[in-house]
């Protein structure tokens, strides 16, 4: 079972995320959770979210990168769902051993994420806070699947990304570890 936690405030306006979301929704054994559709008032049902995550052995965090970080509702999901006594702390072992795959999409391209580029750092420099969130909860951090140029990307490249992501996920589909 794969649990995809997806946070995009305006899915119908997105191209990359929409195509990826449609592809993922179609996969058997994927629980696709579109946070901005489920909780437009930020009224996250932490118990329901935890139950969904418990069912899965792979957790995917997929979202556009906003201001070098996760969208507000994704952050709120971290705050509410990854709770003491469940995700960490005393008795908090619900996520131990689960695989965590991060799928960020950015509006920039490869040259933007260089010392002389628009964002001044390689994309990997923005990774640690998300990575450590997963590791702190005892999850196995997988190499992120980063998709750049999400706004201007052409159909061919987008199709290759969908295939690439599917291949990554296929490794865990059917297996329990």
């Amino acid at each position: 079972m794969i649990c995809v936690v997806h946070a995009h405030p305006y899915p119908s306006r997105s191209r990359t995320n929409r195509v990826l979301a449609d592809a993922l929704r179609a996969v058997d054994g994927v629980d696709f959770r579109a946070l901005y559709d489920l909780y437009p008032d930020f009224d996250i049902d932490a118990v329901a979210e935890q139950k969904a995550v418990e069912q899965a052995h792979v957790v995917v965090w997929m979202h556009p990168v906003f201001w070098y970080s996760v969208p507000a509702l994704m952050k709120h999901w971290f705050d509410k769902v990854l709770a003491y006594g469940w995700a960490y702390g005393e008795g908090g072992a619900a996520l131990h051993g689960k695989h965590c795959l991060w799928v960020p999409t950015t509006g920039g391209d490869e040259p933007d994420f260089t010392p002389t580029g628009l964002h001044a750092h390689p994309f990997a420099a923005y990774e640690p806070s998300v990575e450590q969130t997963a590791r702190f909860c005892g999850m196995r951090w997988e190499p992120p699947y980063v998709i750049h140029d999400a706004i201007a990307i052409d159909d061919g490249a987008l199709a290759r990304h969908v295939a690439g992501l599917m291949e990554r996920l296929a490794r865990w589909r059917g297996s329990r570890s």
Binding site: Y10, S12, Y36, D37, L73, T106, I151
Partner: protein, 598 residues
């Protein structure tokens, strides 16, 4: 009849405010009024006897109200203080006073009756003084209330027992077993009436929505029970008290209390007036030494024994003298007891008269004793620095007026999060239904000042005005603004006019009842048209913000129709522009993202 009413009312209106102004309290005012119009004053009223008889009904009503305030659970929670502390006080003070009576040369039976009667304190004086000084919720106040309560309960068997003490108790009456059977039957009848018959009838009467019929029924209930009891030859007050206790748990408690209260107050006032008229100043003239001796003995013995009682009941050392001063006076029941004892031949007329004067004097002395206590306490506090403040127990912090579709949600949310609230509603069927679901809802018209007081508006920290009727809602707001200006209001508005009316009255928080649900409906429509859920929410948020700002701007000019129209039109235009700008911004951001100008 009309002339007498004129005399009584005029005397009360003149004397009571005057006495209050002089710091003597209303009871002393009534007593003085009685003296002024009675046989020893202006001789305006002759038939003191029958007036006394009629006004005793004030005492009956007072006991009914005391019973109403005594929920069985509350009585149970105070059982130690009431039956332990109260009985101890009655026994100790009664014994000391009886010994004093014997020392004055009274027969033992008479001394016991007089001692017990003098041991009783005035519930009316003590409770009113404590309420004025805000002492009722303090531990000292609770102990005093417990003692007063037991006295009120004990006065009833005491009255019933006096004829048995008299040598000629049963002459001419029915045999004792028949009497006992009548008493038992009457008590069972009161239990059945109070427990099973009254509530359905009250529901029906309240359902008719005619206020005065409800009041009439409340009086009918008390008078009926009192008559039943007097037929059985026992105290009317006991029957009224029982009926009150039986109705204490009902949803009509506050409404009954509110309706009976003015009658109780007036009749009690009349009772005190008749006591004042009944004071035999001839006796004071002939045997001044004896009366002064009885008065001084009463005060000294009672203050000392009450101080001991306060110590045993665990009243803080700083409050013990206050406790004693509050309860030292003789009570209204003493007058009744002396009258009954005189009729039964237990007391001779002269002694009964002397005792009555002494009790009246002790009542008059209460404000002076309290004044003395305050002076002494201030002097002592000046010497030793330990103002050990008693912690006051707070009542229900929130009052919710209206428990319909709207108030219900608010109240249930509060209850679910463990908050306490007192709920008032005037829809009988609704109240019945909600009580079946286990909600503590009181029936009553929340716009009435006395009901608001009874619900604790003076101590509450918040009032939720969820009444659906616009006129009632505004009446409640005015009432609260006038009498409890510090109590914040959160109000439900039926529509924009109502919203503006509430805002102009200074209500801090107003919610239009349909606004939020309409916004949510608008969001659903946008979602169905393919707008992302979060985007729909943002649009609703923007609309809300704009709408509220426009509305706030309208509040000061609401009476000016032309201004309102132009403001509303300008607001609509502004909103259109705002949304156009917002849409353009949104489109650009979505299209260009982080790539800047590219």
């Amino acid at each position: 009849m009309m002339r007498d009413a004129l005399v009584y009312l005029a005397a009360a209106v003149v004397c009571v405010p005057l006495a209050k102004r002089l710091g003597l309290g209303s009871i002393l005012g009534y007593l003085l009024a009685g003296v002024a119009i009675g046989p020893w004053g202006l001789r305006l009223v002759e038939d003191v006897e029958s007036i006394m008889h009629f006004s005793e009904f004030g005492v009956v009503l007072m006991l009914f109200v005391i019973g109403l305030e005594l929920e069985p659970q509350r009585l149970w929670g105070m059982r130690g203080a009431v039956f332990g502390g109260g009985t101890f006080q009655l026994g100790l003070s009664g014994a000391a006073l009886a010994v004093g009576g014997v020392a004055l040369g009274m027969p033992v039976t008479a001394a016991i009756v007089a001692g017990l009667a003098l041991a009783l304190s005035s519930t009316a004086i003590a409770m009113q003084t404590m309420a004025e000084r805000n002492l009722v919720p303090t531990p000292m106040g609770r102990s005093a209330f417990a003692v007063l309560l037991l006295q009120d309960i004990a006065a009833i068997p005491l009255l019933a027992a006096i004829p048995l003490l008299a040598a000629h108790a049963w002459t001419g009456g029915s045999p004792p077993w028949q009497q006992a059977g009548k008493v038992l039957a009457a008590v069972i009848a009161v239990l059945v009436i109070g427990r099973y018959l009254t509530r359905p009838v009250l529901r029906m009467v309240a359902g008719s929505n005619i206020r005065e019929v409800f009041t009439a029924f409340a009086l009918l209930l008390v008078i009926g029970i009192a008559q039943l009891m007097s037929l059985a030859g026992i105290s009317m007050a006991l029957g009224a008290f029982l009926a009150g206790v039986l109705l204490a748990g009902s949803e009509y408690r506050h409404a009954l209390e509110t309706d009976i209260e003015p009658f109780k107050g007036l009749l009690l006032g009349l009772f005190f007036i008749s006591v004042g008229m009944g004071i035999d100043f001839g006796l004071l003239e002939h045997t001044p030494a004896v009366i002064v001796l009885i008065f001084a003995g009463l005060i000294v013995l009672k203050v000392v024994t009450l101080w001991v009682v306060a110590t045993v009941m665990g009243v803080g050392s700083a409050q013990r003298w206050l406790f004693a001063a509050l309860l030292a006076q003789g009570g209204e029941f003493a007058f009744v007891v002396f009258g009954v004892a005189e009729t039964a031949g237990v007391l001779d007329a002269q002694r009964a008269g002397q005792l009555t004067i002494a009790v009246a004097l002790s009542m008059a002395a209460t404000p002076l004793m309290l004044l003395l206590h305050d002076k002494l306490a201030a002097w002592r506090a000046g010497r030793s620095q330990r103002p050990d403040d008693e912690i006051r127990e707070s009542g229900n912090p929130v009052i919710i007026a209206g428990f319909g579709r709207f108030g219900q949600i608010v109240a249930r949310m509060l209850f679910a999060s463990g908050m306490r609230a007192i709920v008032l509603d005037h829809d009988t069927e609704q109240v019945e239904l909600l009580r079946r679901f286990g909600y503590k809802v009181f029936y009553g018209d929340a716009t009435r000042l006395d009901l608001l007081r009874a619900a604790g508006a003076a101590e509450a920290c918040l009032l939720v005005n969820a009444i659906d009727d616009v006129a009632d809602s505004l009446a409640l707001t005015d009432r609260v603004r006038e009498h409890f200006p510090k109590l914040p209001i959160i109000a439900r508005a039926r529509n924009v006019t109502h919203y503006v009316e509430l805002k102009t009255r200074g209500v801090d928080v107003v919610e239009r009842e349909t606004f939020e649900s309409a916004l949510r409906t608008g969001r659903h429509v946008l979602e169905n048209l393919g707008v992302d859920r979060f985007r729909a929410r943002e649009i609703a948020d923007a609309f809300r913000r704009h709408n509220l700002a426009t509305l706030e701007a309208l509040v000061p000019h609401f009476r000016d129709e032309a201004r309102v129209l132009s403001e509303a039109k300008a607001g609509r235009e502004e909103l259109r522009e705002f949304f156009a700008r917002d849409r353009a911004q949104f489109e650009t951001e979505q299209r260009k993202g982080w790539k800047g100008g590219s």
